[in-house]
């Protein structure tokens, strides 16, 4: 074996043992290329989801029904921007540039969570997103706070703290509607009907079809399988729907007294893959909007750099 390959082998063995023993990995440490690539893919995809996720909710800021709800929604959308930024910075510690990540998003090379390709048709959708989508996101994200990669884990701790406000405001919004007029109740139920299945599908394909499973588990990037996390979300949400007096849109939903878990009907994976591959109701709109925002902001980014250069030149002249 060539010396370099042998050295890598030794490092790899040491790395695997370190991670297996719950050791953390920091940016300057040696890591296998696969570990680095997986994390760049996952963290940047997560960051893109936060940024694209601002759109369906931003859509309702001007139409929020009260000043209180408007303040809440603005704060929430601002948080999503913040979450995107924490995540982009943590991906950058792995050696990928912000520009590269942006370019990959805009070219369609990088993905973002499919959930944001569904439209927000009524005000109740804002409640359903907070309650269901953020509820699902938290279920997914809490275990990531213990991810082996330090910068990602630290970003997730911050994000999880903030997400709990997102979920609670969504539930509170749904509660206000479900306790309101018959029309408001219908609106809440309709939003649940439309967001339930996409939220359940957010956890990704069933474990039997999942491609990234075992290696990511060994690297302590993913600690629970898609199906395990999905089950957690279902058990928690069925009870919450009951408290709201709303009905989960699944005739096959039943409680298994033996396992103590709620069982759901068949998920429409064809629809899921259709949306992932770009043919959801809003894929094109989301990308067009992001691209326009990026292009429209180009002169601001350039002007800021030009201003900084000028100001620096002025100070240098003064010093000289």
């Amino acid at each position: 074996m060539p010396a370099v390959a042998m050295e890598d082998d030794i490092r790899r063995t040491r790395f695997d043992a370190h991670v297996a023993g719950e050791g953390k990995v920091e940016p300057q440490d040696w890591m296998p290329e696969g570990y680095r690539k997986t994390l760049i893919r996952q963290i940047s995809q997560h960051a893109h989801s936060e940024i694209i996720g601002m759109q369906p909710e931003g859509n309702w800021i001007t139409r929020a029904p009260s000043l209180r709800r408007k303040c809440i929604l603005i704060a929430k959308v601002q948080d999503e921007a913040g979450h995107g930024l924490y995540l982009y910075s943590s991906a950058e510690t792995l050696g990928v540039s912000r520009q590269q990540m942006e370019a990959d998003l805009l070219s369609g090379k990088a993905k973002y969570s499919s959930i944001f390709n569904y439209p927000t048709l009524t005000w109740a959708d804002i409640g359903a997103i907070g309650w269901l989508v953020d509820g699902a996101a938290i279920t997914n994200q809490i275990p990531l706070c213990r991810c082996s990669y330090g910068p990602y884990a630290r970003a997730m701790v911050r994000i999880c703290k903030e997400e709990s406000f997102h979920q609670r405001q969504g539930f509170e919004l749904m509660m206000a509607l479900s306790k309101g007029s018959p029309e408001q109740r219908r609106m809440a139920q309709d939003a649940l009907n439309r967001w339930w299945w996409p939220s359940v599908a957010m956890f990704g394909p069933p474990d039997s079809d999942s491609i990234h499973g075992s290696q990511n588990a060994a690297w302590k990037i993913k600690r629970f399988s898609n199906d395990e996390l999905r089950q957690r979300f279902i058990d928690m949400t069925v009870k919450q729907a009951e408290a709201l007096g709303l009905t989960i849109p699944d005739p096959d939903l039943k409680f298994n007294t033996e396992s103590g878990h709620w069982e759901i009907g068949e998920i429409d994976w064809d629809d899921f893959w259709k949306v992932v591959k770009g043919d959801g109701p809003c894929n094109r709109q989301r990308m067009a909007h992001r691209k326009k925002a990026h292009d429209d902001g180009a002169w601001v980014r350039e002007a800021a750099l030009a201003h900084a250069a000028k100001a620096r030149a002025r100070t240098e002249k003064k010093v000289a």
């Binding site: 601002q78 913040g82 970003a155 800021a304």
Partner: protein, 96 residues
């Protein structure tokens, strides 16, 4: 698309309370120092996490190399006499 220049990267340190030191919070891009402070305020202190912000351009930081970890830090491991627990003293003598 790659022709645009990236804004420089800054590291952000936040003092959460008087009496505590600044702690690394994360990083961000900004065109200049002032914008870095303003962005740090928006990105890292939306919920009263801080009373004071330090920013420094990431390329101005000098760090120890990961490969030097052994040479730098291992020698301390063998110097147990630097810790108070190393010393045997009688239990009934106070204030030691």
């Amino acid at each position: 698309m790659q022709t645009e220049r990236d804004w420089p990267l800054y590291e952000v340190f936040i003092r959460s309370r008087q009496g505590l030191s600044h702690v690394h919070a994360g990083s961000l891009h900004a065109a200049d120092d002032r914008m870095a402070v303003e962005n740090a305020r928006d990105v890292y202190t939306r919920r009263g996490e801080g009373l004071s912000i330090w920013v420094v351009r990431s390329d101005r930081i000098t760090a120890s190399a990961p490969d030097d970890k052994g040479a730098l830090f291992d020698p301390a491991d063998s110097k147990v006499y630097r810790h108070p627990t190393f010393y045997d003293v009688p239990d009934d003598v106070e204030c030691l």
